[in-house]
């Protein structure tokens, strides 16, 4: 096949990774359709994709998958889909939708997966932007949405649906059942069996392989164009690092329109030949995961947190003996679990204790979570609380963090086995170059970088400079071992009066990891030291107060109690101790704090609707409090208007205590460590 294209595109890096990582020789297999044909040849009978249907796991082997793609691609071609066309794909994780992704690529087209839970209006922009003509969708729900926006999207002329339920009586000329498309394809394949092979051979690594629309919280969404080379190279680099092979199993349960899902359940299986499993429905993910027992797993922190909450709740309901057992062995796990997983030396007594715990508690717990067979698990997307992170590692699940984005084909940094820390995202994956601007913005150069933002040269030029560095907008630094640490968005990072780094969100996240602290707002930009507003978590602190027989009448009362101040003060001191150990931001230790008399609320404009703190607005609104913090007062009187949900307003007044928090000198922290 066409090798010249590889050599045109940075052969040294891309190809070496590919050749070295796999048992298979993937030389020349520079597009996903070529990889599929390869797997159909060498491991045709191994499972490629599974889906639970009518209560039974149905398996497609690689050969079956390739047959499906061939028929589908021929069908699409017969329907007028051609090279460089865009194919919208809307739906949950379904084998047929993954086949559609590959079929589009086989014809030299570009699949554009869209979020299946987006409302109709949100789909209009991508369809117009990418002049989408054909769409493969899951069911009636998606068909209805596309039909609704049809008047705004005149280019969309073909909609194919997988599940015909409820669509029997739809007469729109644009609609066609997936099964019918397949029949057309099979017919056309019989007439001209060589057609598709020629089309696949025409494709090369530098062709666009997929387009992902970024969510566009600021401004309109941008279509990120990624090439086959970028996706395959990154998928292979990470697969090599983790030693993934064709016996691995993944559960595909996150939205396919998200780049990560595409990497874990399309790009990587195509590179290594492992099998992905599609759950029956969103509600059955837990049960399906237990049945499948994936070996390779990704979950954003919120999913991990929800799982842990479930475990905790069920333990609360368990009998006394079981509760004792759980508590006892979790303590052992907390002490030595992480170290055992990292292969660090641990005393024989603790090893035995851990082994017993593994038999009685951790093993069954992993089994309940469906993680018995997990070899590698990743989390990413947002900061993960250290306790949450350590919980999973302590019970023997190899959970690691990674860093990446749509524009970088995900894999930029991964924590290698044995070098896992709760607050970094690990060193660069082979092939990636990282550097920082003077403003501490992280720049990335990697074979996995995107080609462009579709039809948006201006945005492309802003994000990717002439030398090929991608400007992430993330601020961070390397820790002493060379692990990347992301602290905040560049635009939010400031500096203290002495010029050292001040990263408010990083501090606030650290505070919020304590269950007692619900929200935190830190100040320090252009000032000599950092001060903070704290919102306590009513439920957690309320429980804490009840256990201590502290009476309180409501939030304001509880927040103003000296005991609560002490509690929060302890949390802040722990954060300060942590910060002192990090030379880059040791100066950001929190010197003074107060607990706000009311909860920050989106209705009052203090939070965004997605519950992000609006720091500037709060600083303005509570100017008097900020001034008091910096003026060294130990008390401040406050009156504030609050808006109730029914629109009425009222005034709350209170005296707030201002406390000093203990800070540590960096040197002392080092000695202690």
């Amino acid at each position: 096949m066409d090798r010249s294209r590889w050599s045109g595109a940075d052969p040294s890096r891309g190809q070496n990774v590919l050749e070295a990582s796999m048992a298979d020789d993937l030389t020349g297999l520079d597009t996903f359709p070529k990889l599929l044909m390869h797997h159909a040849r060498v491991r045709g009978d191994l499972p490629a994709i599974r889906e639970k249907d009518l209560g039974i796991w149905q398996t497609w082997s690689w050969k079956r998958f390739a047959d499906e793609v061939r028929a589908l691609a021929c069908g699409l071609a017969a329907q007028g889909f051609k090279r460089d066309d865009h194919l919208a794909i809307v739906g949950d994780n379904r084998p047929r939708l993954y086949a559609a992704v590959c079929a589009a690529q086989a014809l030299g087209g570009v699949p554009v997966p869209l979020y299946q839970d987006a409302v109709a209006a949100e789909m209009a922009f991508p369809i117009q932007n990418a002049t989408i003509t054909h769409a493969v969708v899951e069911d009636q729900e998606q068909v209805d949405k596309l039909l609704e926006i049809l008047p705004q999207c005149p280019t969309l002329t073909h909609i194919y649906y997988d599940d015909p339920r409820g669509l029997r009586h739809y007469g729109q000329p644009q609609l066609m059942a997936y099964d019918r498309l397949l029949e057309i394809g099979q017919e056309s394949y019989r007439r001209d069996p060589a057609y598709l092979e020629t089309e696949v051979a025409k494709g090369g690594g530098e062709d666009a392989a997929a387009m992902f629309f970024t969510s566009g919280t600021t401004g309109v969404p941008k279509g990120v164009v990624l090439t086959h080379h970028a996706l395959i190279d990154r998928a292979a680099a990470a697969a090599k690092m983790e030693g993934l092979g064709d016996r691995d199993v993944v559960l595909a349960y996150l939205p396919p329109a998200w780049i990560g899902q595409n990497i874990f359940s399309y790009a990587q299986p195509f590179v290594t030949g492992y099998c992905i499993c599609c759950p029956e429905s969103a509600e059955t993910v837990m049960t399906d995961m237990r049945e499948i027992g994936p070996t390779y797993y990704f979950a954003p922190p919120r999913v991990l947190e929800a799982l842990l909450t479930q475990v905790s709740i069920r333990m609360e309901d368990a009998g006394r003996f079981k509760r004792w057992l759980y508590k006892h062995f979790m303590e052992v796990a907390r002490r030595v679990g992480g170290a055992i997983l990292d292969g660090k030396p641990v005393g024989i007594a603790d090893r035995l204790r851990y082994a017993l715990g593994d038999m009685l508690v951790f093993g069954p717990l992993r089994n309940v979570l469906g993680m018995s067979r997990v070899r590698v698990a990743y989390t990413a997307g947002e900061a993960i609380g250290p306790d949450l992170f350590k919980f999973y590692r302590s019970i023997g699940i190899n959970l690691k963090q990674l860093y990446g984005s749509t524009e970088t084909s995900v894999f930029v940094c991964i924590q290698p086995n044995g070098q896992v820390k709760a607050d970094t995202v690990g060193p660069a994956v082979p092939g990636v170059e990282l550097k920082f601007t003077p403003q501490r913005e992280l720049l990335i150069r990697s074979p996995g970088l995107f080609r462009e933002y579709y039809k948006n040269p201006q945005a492309t030029a802003e994000a990717k400079d002439a030398e090929g560095w991608f400007h992430t907008g993330d601020a961070g630094y390397f820790d002493p071992e060379g692990h990347l640490k992301i602290i905040d968005r560049v635009k939010d990072v400031g500096s203290l009066a002495d010029g050292t780094l001040f990263a408010p969100k990083y501090l606030e996240n650290k505070l919020k990891f304590f269950p007692y602290i619900k929200e935190a707002v830190t100040f320090g930009d252009q000032r000599d030291r950092v001060c903070a507003f704290i919102n306590i978590d009513m439920e957690a602190v309320g429980n804490w107060a009840e256990k201590r027989n502290l009476p309180y009448s409501g939030y304001t009362d509880l927040a103003s109690r000296a005991e609560t101040c002490d509690l929060v003060g302890e949390c802040i001191e722990k954060v300060n101790a942590d910060l002192a150990a990090e030379p880059e931001i040791a100066n950001s230790q929190i010197h003074r704090f107060l607990i706000l008399h009311k909860e920050l609320d989106a209705d009052d404009g203090e939070l965004t609707r997605t519950r992000k703190v609006r720091r500037g607005f709060i600083a303005e609104r509570y100017q008097a409090l900020v001034d008091a913090l910096y003026a060294g007062q130990d008390k401040v009187h406050v009156e504030a208007q609050v808006k109730y949900e029914d629109g009425r307003t009222a005034t709350i007044s209170a005296d707030l205590a201002i406390r000093d928090a203990k800070t540590y000198s960096p040197a002392a922290a080092k000695r202690a460590a």
Partner: protein, 279 residues
């Protein structure tokens, strides 16, 4: 025997044809001058109405109007003192519920009658009971034919589970499910009989708005997909007026109105019954 359609009913018929639901056919079930009394209490007095094939027919009325009694007469739980029930052209006046089931009449219950300790799957499987032919011994020994039969029935049940979107609770004991889901399981069990006529006794009682909307969708889907004729009792007027083709109104055991939702809404005696007029 079918009565000529009113102008409004005709319009409704046309709208229905456009939406693609199966066209309403001839009378499938006729209730003729039925009277039912328990001792001195007259539950139903001289009630007649008909149900056409593929339609959704609602029975409404204030509390104690005799709605549930009417359903119980139709599926043979009560035997009326007077009058006949004519189902698919055959009339009968005393039929056992099992016979009704064998002839294709299934029902759900106002107060759920599920097996609380059994899983969702087993509950729905129990709806296939009438269709199983292998005897107990063969089933107990798991002999070939019994196994094959079970597999076939399980497939039907799985399709229903898929249809009503209850996959996540397949193995959950019914007693642990929230009320709205239990109602769905009840419907699933009735569907497992593959009935011609489905009697629903207050399918939406005690549900919140979202559960009601789901249930409405499922009822319309059942009617559309399988062409099942549906007779339902419901208190939520919004639901009744939205999904039914025709409505019978009972009050104190007598029929006081019959027609399309619009006709019934405009009927003076119906308004009186609901708003209260001295009798």
């Amino acid at each position: 025997m079918s009565t000529p359609l009113s102008a409004q009913a005709q319009l409704a018929q046309e709208a229905r044809a456009k939406s693609g639901r199966p066209p309403i056919g001839d009378n499938i079930l006729e209730v003729e001058r039925v009277s039912l009394a328990f001792g001195g209490v007259r539950a139903l007095t001289d009630v007649s109405f008909n149900v056409r094939e593929h339609e959704i027919r609602a029975i409404i009325g204030p509390n104690g109007a005799g709605k549930s009694s009417m359903l119980n007469v139709v599926n043979g739980v009560y035997h009326p003192q007077q009058g006949t029930i004519r189902f698919r052209g055959r009339s009968y006046s005393d039929m056992h519920p099992r016979e009704a089931a064998e002839r294709g009449i299934a029902r759900t219950f106002q107060s759920l009658a599920l097996f609380k300790g059994m899983s969702v799957l087993d509950n729905i499987m129990s709806g296939r009971n009438l269709k199983m032919h292998s005897n107990m011994l063969m089933q107990a020994l798991r002999l070939g034919p019994a196994l094959r039969e079970e597999t076939a029935h399980r497939e039907v049940v799985e399709r229903i589970i898929d249809f009503l979107e209850i996959q996540a609770w397949r193995k959950t004991p019914v007693g642990r499910l929230p009320y709205g889901l239990q109602k769905r399981v009840d419907l699933a069990r009735a569907l497992a009989m593959e009935p011609t006529v489905l009697l629903l006794d207050e399918p939406m009682a005690g549900m919140n708005m979202e559960e009601k909307q789901d249930m409405c969708r499922f009822i319309l889907d059942v009617n559309d997909q399988f062409g099942t004729t549906i007779v339902l009792i419901e208190h939520d007027m919004g639901v009744v007026m939205d999904i039914s083709d025709r409505v019978v109104v009972l009050d104190y055991g007598r029929k006081i109105g019959d027609g399309t939702p619009d006709e019934v809404r405009a009927n003076q005696s119906v308004i009186d019954a609901y708003l209260g007029v001295s009798h």
